[in-house]
């Protein structure tokens, strides 16, 4: 049948598709086929339009937008394959079902037709009774596919609007499918809708990536769902989105996780909004500092921590003096500018106040350290609050208050005008001044008013006793530093006698502080402070150097060869370099190291006996003597005593005081002497005040004694005179 020159459709009546009836375009160069198909298709409720070759098919398709196309393969002018390819490229032709009619034996045509986009096949000769059923089936499939596409489009739209995507990870094959919105949010191109799980993880910012990876692994193992939030940064660094990922493992019948399903939501906007809301609620707009509400939260946290850790902290309430005048004369903008500069200075002072975060020296190895922070807040017009999260002593707060007052009082330049303000500070200390936020705030406020009454630009503790104590200690501390620099410290020497021979064998060096205004300050007062502040280190070094120099001086001047006992604090070992300090003192003075005696208390070994033994061995290695001071009052672990490389035990004076009256004390002293001797140690008794005590000690065969019975502590000159008074001219002692 040839029909090259005639258009068969010319022979067909014009079809106007009836409303609601599906339109079928039937394309065949065999007019007989078209005629035979017409009836069954019409009976099945289709409107049929026809074409006799590919070119006509394209024209008819454009004109009628059919719901389905039946297309012959081999036709003149344009065959069915070319026609399908053309139709598929049109907007309406993308998804239209195309039924290809072809010979049963023509496999090549079938393959080619599939490639071009045919939906299904009908083999020739065509069974025209079956054809309408096949067409109906294809249209139903298309409806389903359309619905699916439309549902998919709705889902995509909904996900796009909600900024929500979904994903599914096949754990066994490690393939992950994700929706278009996930692709968009994670920066994949829109056609990349799947890949390995790791390819999804790789898009997550590195700080959270490992957590997501581990959480997923845990979820696979445990079968439990998880939620995580993280950022995803796009190609540009400022293109960061916050995401919330929800994941739910799917378990098989054996309870094993085979798949993981989940969603990802872009929460950038809500996260930003939340932060803005938080900032508005908790931060001061002018200075950017935390506001009263935020300070209240920090304070509550610090209270909990301090309660648990049994530590103290301080609250400083600041008010700028005469701020109102600045505001009134220079305007509110200038006032705001000043507040900003003040807040910068406050923050700067806190940053530099390292003393505050320092743990207590003596507790350095006793366990937990605090993690509380110092913070500053603006709580009103010209009112600020500083929270010092962890202070060792009230003086720490005083020191910061002083620095703040000093820093604030430096001049400001505001609109080219130099402005000066000062601040008045009230301080409350937990737990002494209150155990809750309300009370501490109130008391810091009250203290601030007291400070104002006492004249501005100063600070005041709430508690009078803390104030006095802090002030005194703070000033002593400052003065002690000066005392060391200006050599206001001096050493006194208390003689020690050999009980067996009656000879003076050495002295104990005792430190004294002659304050130019306050007079003599007791070591009981300043030694603990020197230990707390670390000033004990330079002080101890000075004592070692001075006493060694003195021993050598006595030898040089022919006074005699006397050993010197120097008390050392545990702090010198933890914060200083004690071994080299001793070594330097010995070497610089030139004395025989055996003339140097280091007195240590048992507390030094309290925490770690092995370290103690090692330390003592090092000291011993310098050739100096070691004495255990205050023996019997502290740790006194006898089992370890034998392992310590010491030379002497010093019986604490509390046992010696009542020795002649109290049988218990006498028993203890006797026991210590016996113990010492059995361990090969020499025993020294201190605090001997009378002949009775001396006599008992002699009976017990105590080796050495010292105390008021013989001599008070003496200056070097007094000691020399004392020797002459006791022994006659030096020459006797020096030669004998």
């Amino acid at each position: 049948m040839t029909s090259k020159s005639t258009s068969l459709t010319d022979q067909f009546p014009e079809v106007s598709p009836e409303r609601g009836k599906p339109v079928v375009l039937h394309v065949d160069d065999d007019l007989a086929s078209l005629l035979m198909a017409e009836g069954p298709l019409a009976d099945a409720g289709f409107v049929v339009v026809q074409a006799s070759d590919g070119l006509e098919a394209i024209a008819q398709f454009k004109k009628h937008s059919p719901d389905l196309v039946i297309m012959d393969a081999v036709m003149p002018n344009m065959d069915g394959f070319a026609a399908i390819a053309h139709i598929r490229k049109t907007a309406l032709g993308t998804h239209v079902p195309i039924l290809m009619t072809t010979g049963l034996d023509d496999l090549e045509s079938i393959t080619r037709a599939y490639d071009e986009g045919a939906t299904d096949f009908l083999t020739k000769p065509i069974n025209f009774f079956i054809m309408p059923y096949r067409v109906q089936y294809m249209l139903r499939s298309k409806e389903t596919a359309d619905e699916l596409r439309s549902s998919q489009a709705r889902l995509d739209n909904a996900q796009r609007i909600a900024r929500l995507g979904h994903w599914e990870w096949d754990v066994a094959t490690d393939h992950t499918n994700w929706s278009r919105e996930v692709a968009r949010m994670f920066g994949f191109d829109k056609h990349t809708l799947g890949g390995p799980w790791e390819s999804l993880l790789a898009k997550i910012d590195v700080d959270m990536r490992q957590e997501v990876r581990i959480s997923a692994e845990v979820a696979v193992e445990s079968g439990k769902r998880f939620t995580l939030e993280f950022d995803v940064t796009g190609k540009r660094a400022n293109d960061t989105c916050s995401m919330r990922l929800e994941a739910e493992p799917k378990l098989d019948n054996n309870g094993l996780c085979t798949h993981m399903l989940g969603t990802v939501q872009d929460i950038t906007q809500s996260a930003t909004a939340q932060k803005e809301i938080h900032d508005l609620a908790y931060y001061d707009l002018v200075t950017g500092l935390p506001n009263r509400a935020q300070m209240r939260e920090s304070l509550t946290q610090t209270l909990k921590l301090s309660e648990r850790m049994n530590t103290q902290f301080a609250l400083l309430f600041l008010d700028l003096d005469h701020f109102k005048q600045v505001n009134d004369t220079l305007g509110h903008d200038a006032g705001d500018d000043l507040l900003q500069q003040v807040s910068n200075r406050l923050s700067s002072v806190l940053r530099d106040s390292d003393v505050l975060s320092r743990p207590k020296d003596t507790d350095a190895d006793s366990g937990e350290q605090q993690s509380s922070k110092d913070s500053v807040a603006r709580i009103g017009g010209d009112e600020f609050v500083v929270l010092l999260g962890n202070i060792n002593r009230a003086e720490d707060a005083a020191r910061v208050a002083e620095r703040i007052a000093h820093s604030i009082s430096e001049p400001y330049t505001i609109s080219d005008i130099e402005v000066a303000v000062t601040t008045t500070i009230g301080i409350s200390v937990y737990p002494n001044d209150g155990r809750d936020a309300e009370t501490l705030m109130k008391h810091a406020d009250v203290a601030m008013y007291h400070a104002k009454e006492n004249g501005r630009n100063g600070y005041q503790f709430y508690s009078r006793s803390i104030h006095d104590q802090a002030l005194k200690r703070f000033s002593i501390e400052r003065e002690l530093k000066i005392a060391i620099e200006q050599e206001q410290l001096k050493l006194l020497y208390q003689p020690k006698m050999d009980l067996n021979t009656g000879d003076i064998v050495g002295v104990e060096a005792l430190i004294r502080w002659s304050h130019p205004e306050r007079g003599s300050i007791s070591p009981a007062e300043f030694i603990p402070m020197a230990e707390e502040t670390g000033l004990i280190v330079p002080m101890g070094k000075w004592v070692l150097d001075e006493s060694a120099r003195q021993v050598q001086g006595w030898i040089d001047r022919g006074v005699g060869r006397y050993s010197v006992a120097v008390n050392c604090s545990p702090v010198q070992f933890t914060r200083g370099n004690m071994i080299s300090d001793i070594d330097n003192a010995v070497k610089n003075s030139g004395i025989d190291p055996s003339l140097m005696e280091i007195e240590l208390t048992e507390n030094l070994f309290l925490h770690n006996i092995e370290n103690g033994i090692q330390l003592l061995s090092c000291i011993k290695g310098l050739g100096v003597q070691i004495a255990v001071d205050d023996f019997g009052t502290g740790f006194s672990s006898l089992s370890y005593l034998k392992r310590l490389p010491v030379d002497k035990l010093k019986i604490d004076q509390t046992f010696v005081q009542e020795l002649h009256k109290d049988k218990g004390d006498a028993a203890i002293v006797s026991a210590i002497v016996t113990l010492g001797h059995n361990l090969g140690l020499s025993v020294v008794a201190e605090g001997v005040e009378n002949a009775e005590q001396l006599e008992i000690l002699r009976q017990y065969k105590c080796n050495e004694v010292q105390g008021f019975h013989f001599s008070h502590p003496l200056t070097s000159a007094e000691f020399e005179q004392w020797l002459i008074d006791r022994n006659g001219p030096y020459v006797q002692t020096a030669t004998g």
Binding site: M1, A32, L35, G103, P125
Partner: protein
Amino acid sequence: MSQIDQTALNNIRALQRPEAPDLVERIVGLFVTQTPASVKTILDAVESGDLETIRITAHGVKSSATYVGATSLSKRFADLEIVAREGQLDLCQELCIDINDHTLQVIDELSPYLDQSQDRAA
């Protein structure tokens, strides 16, 4: 022996819609009027060695012949389509030797269906 399978014509008859022109007559009519021209096209193409024309034309007649029940003739055109596609011109020539006679025989056998309808129409 008849060249026409009556079942095929009955199948066409079954497709007849009421009120519509007689379908058997139209299909047979189309075959009778168009096939001789197609056969001539094929013979000319064999003469000129135009295998593509032989293939496409044979493909068309093959289907038409099947529908009117000319099974044997359809088989002959199907074979012709295959050898034309395979490029075997000599085999085409062989298959075409008595193709005209066969076609005329089928047309002759189908003419009563035309006459019948013509009679009915008259």
